[in-house]
């Protein structure tokens, strides 16, 4: 069986994506809507805090809830890490994804000033990938062992690690 296509929701998401792209042309590089009706905003890394505060505070886009903050690693790109923020709007019952990019050495603005929930998520991204978050209140390891060296989720980190257990 195939999921039925919801044209109405697709059109609404396209319209909202164009609305946001019109208001914030300085930071938004691309807007796309997947076939599963998921809206994604592709951002320049300088614009993380402006875009997230806009999505949280604006009346037409009250995305007050940060559902997830992750990163993905694509080693072949110039900026290998892609930071992904998933936001949920309780007032309008809709979700949105905001994506940014960075390489291993460039710090990224912390989203803690906008969403308190980003605290441990950013610690996890730092621990697993090595992406440094500027202005984070307490950036230290959260999942790896105390003397662990390396960033496990990177694609060039071997599956069973470097240390024999």
């Amino acid at each position: 069986t195939v999921r039925p296509k919801n044209e109405v929701e697709q059109k609404q998401l396209c319209a909202f994506g164009e609305y946001v792209a019109e208001i914030l042309p300085k930071y938004i590089q691309q807007v796309q809507v997947t076939c599963f009706n998921e809206l994604e905003l592709l951002i320049h890394p300088d614009g993380i805090i402006p875009v997230l505060t806009f999505l949280r505070d604006h009346t037409n886009a009250q995305f007050k809830s940060l559902a997830d903050l992750t990163a993905i690693d694509v080693p072949s790109r110039q900026y290998r890490f892609e930071i992904v923020y998933n936001l949920l709007s309780l007032r309008f019952n809709s979700r949105i994804r905001v994506k940014t990019y960075t390489d291993e050495l460039t710090p990224v603005d912390s989203a803690v000033s906008v969403h308190k929930a980003a605290n441990w998520y950013e610690r996890e991204v730092w621990d697993m990938y090595g992406v440094f978050f500027a202005n984070h209140p307490d950036l230290r390891r959260i999942l790896t062992d105390y003397g662990f060296e390396g960033h496990p989720f990177r694609k060039d980190f071997p599956l069973s690690g470097y240390v024999e257990v």
Binding site: G47, P50, T53, D57, Q78, R91
Partner: protein, 110 residues
């Protein structure tokens, strides 16, 4: 008399508070260039809500017409919009794109 929401006290004289907040927002928006999309859309939203607040004196009916939850939530939302407008004046998001991404950055599948 209660809002039903934790942490939100009942607002006495919500019309006055909303009037002050909306006039402040419109004042801050004057500092943005007239052709910016943010100023256009926010002025539209604020003027719509302001007209509804001016016309309707009964709190219950105002809540139904605004269709945006309790009046206290509308007040919180207006305060958020005001702080956002102040930050927008500094960030200036209506300018053209800061930097183009590398051509293979957003290509998926790789």
């Amino acid at each position: 008399q209660t809002t039903g929401l934790v942490g939100l006290a009942v607002a006495e004289n919500p019309h006055e508070r909303l009037r002050i907040l909306y006039t402040k927002i419109l004042g801050v928006l004057q500092n943005i260039p007239k052709d910016a999309a943010y100023r256009k859309y926010t002025e539209q939203i604020v003027n719509e809500r302001f007209d509804l607040v001016k016309k309707e004196t009964d709190v219950q009916k105002l809540q139904d017409k605004l269709n945006s939850g309790q009046i206290e939530e509308v007040i919180v939302q207006a305060e958020n919009e005001l702080s956002l407008a102040r930050k927008m004046v500094q960030w200036k998001p209506w300018e053209p794109l800061v930097e183009e991404p590398p051509s293979d950055q957003w290509r998926w599948p790789i």
